[in-house]
Symmetry: C2
Subunit: 160 residues, 2 copies
């Protein structure tokens, strides 16, 4: 693979990953989120944007490493599941911040966590570095799942 | 396989699973646990023993179904990992209630959850019913992981 195509590919995977983040960010926290009872271990709001930016860049690099080594057809289960987890990732923001449904968002984030785990294993088989860059993402979504669960249980009642 | 040997096998797997629970129960909640700050969604203490008893029975049935169909040598990765998750399960009680280390217990329970997920997949391949009976266990340990995390974060400071 030529260097130019490799570099273009990196840009493409980064843009794709960051685009999922951008779609999710269209459903921003607002008055509803402010009104929720939070667990004591809820991180400060300012933490989320920089953490997510780093994670989208890392996952884009991971997908690029796999694509560069095996091509889309050579690693299609891994890369298709990678695209699916991007969809689950953006869907979470819609369910939680858009629909105000922490219950549905929790189901989504559990499916997302399992998808990331499988993607990390499949990426690792192609290139251990591609698997390794998925691990901070896996850890963060695990934490976010617990946070989502706590927010759901601390705020019972109908969606508003 | 004769009926007698099949029935003995069921008893064996049930005893093994319940034994892991019994070992764990040697490290019972006491004054230290009572003193912990709890999240609002902490279940009543009376819930845990009946839930765990049902889960140990279900997992014993699952392992028995796989063992009956494939034998130990025919499903050794699944059954070895099943034994390993029993160890991680008992270890959790020791780390949490014995050592008063919610931090180490959290690492253990995350590993336990991943092990149960893999066991459920491997069991499902042998017999879908064996995979299905692992799902309540998977869900409960997922919930317990979040609870462990919340108890860790709500109670910072050195182990006592």
């Amino acid at each position: 693979m030529g260097t130019a195509r490799g570099t273009l590919g990196l840009l493409g995977w980064l843009v794709l990953s960051l685009a999922a983040g951008w779609v999710g960010s269209r459903f921003a926290p607002g008055a509803w989120y402010e009104s929720l009872a939070k667990p004591a271990w809820n991180p400060p709001a300012a933490v989320f944007a920089p953490v997510w930016t780093v994670l989208y860049v890392l996952m884009g690099v991971g997908a690029w490493l796999v694509w560069r080594r095996a091509g889309f057809s050579g690693a299609s289960p891994a890369l298709v599941l990678f695209l699916a987890q991007l969809g689950l990732n953006a869907l979470w923001s819609f369910l939680f911040f858009g629909l105000h449904r922490p219950d549905l968002a929790f189901l989504d984030i559990v499916a997302l966590w399992i998808a990331i785990l499988i993607v990390a294993v499949l990426f690792w088989r192609e290139d251990w570095r591609a698997g390794a860059v998925m691990l901070p993402y896996l850890a963060w979504v695990g934490f976010a799942s617990c946070l989502n669960f706590a927010l759901w249980r601390l705020n019972p009642g109908p969606a508003v």
